[in-house]
Symmetry: none
Subunit: 526 residues, 2 copies
């Protein structure tokens, strides 16, 4: 019999409190579908009483693939001067017609007297009355004990009485909230132990915020102390420093302790779910994110690399495939020939460690790294370098010349960047010009224009990121420049690099590699 | 009597194992200086035996403001077939001539037999012998017990014997390492309790990795269980998912538990240190980062906002000022004015809080921050902005126009960058041209050439650093470029900023500010 923990996702409600998170209703429905497919038990869609836009979601999700039973709505206890029947907030909750409702109430005596400005006993009535009412209307009513841990530390006896009020109303689960995110992992377990002396086997949940960088740890500790329901958000979105990241909580509980949070065969979709929801939110992927990040199983140090090639458990806490991720070996001045062979195999190149061409690649690599090249994040350039050095690359075009002019004067509203480019494909010459937002964008536009006649597939390729690093300090604008370009098409993303004293030249190299890589991959597909 | 915990920073060694972290030697020295100023006890500079580039750092740091006593170097136990006297790694450690050395050794029996391929007892000798040897040569020798927690779980008895070998050699501290980052917060305390039954009061340290999203929590728990030395990195840089983030560990221990990690009056520099080191590494600031992030004390929800305006502790776990951060209310940002007045006084401007011009500066600042301007590291631009908005700045010259051409073709050995610039000083026009290594350098050369006739003091000014960051604002895909320029003369250094879609334009703004600031300061001196 495997132990179960209920995952209650609040990405669509608490997650959208984040400064940089903003989903359309259509996005929210897609996210709900992705979470349901992934096996998340409850998906909180919004706060109908506080945000009218959320009402649109509850309508829209009814036409989706997500069964009603998995959708929850959020609100608060009724106001002191109203009955539940005429409290707008409570009624707004019922109007969205979902079977699961969560309301929050005050635990901290200070908030009752200072924010609500009511008597302590009256707050107990609000909690009990609101939950009792909702219990007659829907399948499940959950209770979020706001500021539970701060309230407990301020007035333990009163905090426990608020929980008792929710228990008496037969709330389906009582969730202990670390609303301000200030609770330390060394105290959370002992507080929960004390609570359970009073609540016994009553189902308890946990809702953590990450203000002390401990939200995931606190959630895991809570489960080890008997909590059966965990609230959190995908990728830890949320106000301030975010909520507990369920992309970390789920694999921690499932892989380290054997709890079932999502069906066993679904865990391998973890990385895909994380990336997909980042994409919908137009948020950048954190390469270092535990379990799902691109670097989560990436090895750079030579000691580590030679060890993982013998036995991957030596420097990996889990098998990356369990969460849909994979092992990567990075190229850097710390490593050597064994990394290269690993990479070559990754690229599908048939390479023997005794092949003298491998030494030529090592030499070329050292030479470029001394110049300031860096192939982490630019694996496409590295693959091209490897193929070119080993003689397995046929050029798609020749670059003849470029020229770019940037101009600004007091008669102009904004500066002008204009580029001309000359290239040759199979002896045929193309000479074009284009404008752009800046010199690099202008050259990029001109090259594509020149090549598009020969390679129409370049149309579906776009630049997604462009990074510039000045390498030698102390020489100001004469310094060596490294440019990293990230491109994407419908199949995925790839990175390329260029290094030169001239930033335009460095950018040109990275752009050229990016285009050559795209053409190479498309040719391989044929 | 306040309890103390030693902070041992490994940003410059373990931090550089991160896929996207790459510091020049000059950057590393600046980081060491910043960490020393912040009050960090030990700064690990690198691994001389593994990375020849690190040796350069140890040479360079001797000329810095950081006393030797705070610098540490990292290495491993001697190899099985060598004595310490002829082991390259051990000797490389001694050659960098620092008083603190840390070596790692194997705890996990599997690694001893599989990776080192030696007998278990022989590994104990390596540990004891290497540490005993180093103890005769330097002030302090620390021992990193690699894979301690995994090793302990695999073979408790052997893991404890490895610690005993280090204790017998009188290592100054024994650091328990969660090398793979897989240890759960619910088990770390009990394992340390078991260890301490054997080690008693022997000083123990902790070194956590973040693969399970628990590195900060595990470090804090370890301290509550008697650990006195914490290793980690600034902003959690490090291989895979990073190391324990000391920007979170320090305030957790200091503000929540009253441990002294850095001097009490230094904690308010936390945010500045975090940002500064991100800037040096050209790494993006994580707005949600606990304690130091721009959003860490930002409130969006209406309930929260009205509550914090009454009492900030209602939704903030600490006072943001304690770590140099500030409360922000999104959409209706009312704060900032007092900061501005503080800054104005800093610049020697006589400003009254009731002066309506202060509001104009607040408005202008908001407008620029929305465009992507950032004035950390660019205070010279901020001072110019303030003076210009308040009407206390007299221009030294007018910029009329610039044009820059970058050209490359197959007949040229390297690309050509040529700039023309037109400026006016007191009605007198100057039109010059200059070449450069790239478009920005060419413009820089041309402007100076044009101005030197009027302001010969520009001769002793030079650009020392130039950083480019591509920002993507909002939901759009249009890239905005931010350029930070650092300049110096005989009196000191100053930073300026420019933001535009066109990189040349952004650079031009930063260069202009840099020159104007120099002319302003020289005039003030007269």
């Amino acid at each position: 019999m495997s132990k179960r923990v209920e995952i209650y996702d609040t990405t669509l409600r608490d997650g959208t409190q984040s400064e940089d998170v903003n989903f359309t209703i259509a996005d929210k429905v897609k996210i709900a579908e992705a979470l349901y497919d992934f096996g998340v038990r409850y998906i909180e869609g919004g706060w109908p009483g506080s945000n009218p836009r959320d009402i649109g979601f509850f309508k829209a999700v009814k036409g989706s693939s997500v069964p009603d039973d998995h959708i929850a709505a959020f609100g608060s206890t009724r106001r002191a001067k109203r009955t539940c029947d005429n409290d707008e907030n409570i009624q707004a909750l019922l109007e969205v017609e979902v079977p699961n409702l969560t309301i929050f109430g005050k635990t901290w005596d200070l908030h009752v007297t200072e924010a609500l400005k009511i008597e302590l006993d009256q707050n107990l009535e609000l909690i009990n009355d609101s939950l009792s009412y909702l219990k007659t209307k829907v399948d499940r009513a959950f209770y979020d004990a706001e500021h539970f841990f701060d309230g407990y530390k301020a007035n333990k006896e009163y905090a426990l009485r608020t929980l008792k009020a929710a228990m008496d109303a037969k709330a389906d689960c009582i969730i202990l909230c670390d609303t301000n995110g200030g609770t330390m992992p060394a105290e959370i377990g002992s507080i929960i132990d004390e609570v359970r002396k009073v609540t016994g086997d009553y189902p308890l949940g946990i809702h953590c915020h990450n203000d002390s960088d401990c939200a995931v740890a606190n959630s895991v500790i809570a489960v080890k102390h008997g909590i059966v329901h965990v609230q959190g958000t995908v990728n830890g979105y949320g106000e301030r420093c975010g909520n507990a990241n369920i992309m970390s909580v789920i694999p921690n509980l499932q892989l380290k302790y054997g709890y079932e949070c999502v069906p066993v065969d679904k865990l391998k979709n973890l990385r895909t779910v994380s990336r997909y929801i980042n994409e919908l939110g137009n948020l950048k992927h954190n390469i270092h994110q535990p379990y799902v990040g691109r670097s989560a199983f990436a090895h750079k140090g030579g000691v580590h690399v030679s060890a993982i090639m013998k036995n991957s458990s030596t420097y990996e806490h889990i098998e990356p495939e369990l969460v849909g991720n994979r092992q990567r070996v990075l190229l850097s001045d710390l490593s050597g020939k064994s990394n290269l062979i690993y990479k070559a195999k990754d690229f599908g190149l048939d390479v023997d460690s005794s092949d003298p061409k491998i030494n030529a690649v090592v030499e070329r690599l050292k030479e470029l790294e001394n110049k300031g090249f860096q192939f982490e994040g630019a694996e496409a350039s590295f693959e091209l370098l490897m193929r070119k050095t080993m003689g397995t690359f046929t050029p798609f075009f020749d670059s003849i010349s470029y020229r770019v002019i940037d101009e600004m004067n007091t008669n102009m509203g904004s500066p002008l960047a204009e580029a001309t480019v000359m290239i040759k494909v199979d002896g045929e010459q193309e000479h074009t010009a284009a404008a752009g937002n800046g010199p690099v964008n202008a050259i990029d536009n001109a090259i594509r224009k020149a090549l598009l006649n020969f390679y129409p597939n370049l149309k579906d390729m776009e630049l997604v990121d462009y990074k510039v690093r000045i390498l030698t300090t102390g020489t100001g604008t004469e310094a060596v420049t490294r440019v990293l370009v990230e491109s994407k098409d419908t199949d995925g993303t790839w990175g390329t690099v260029g290094v030169a004293t001239n930033i335009v030249d460095a950018s040109y190299q990275a752009l050229m590699d990016s285009i050559e890589y795209k053409l190479l991959k498309d040719k391989e597909k044929e």
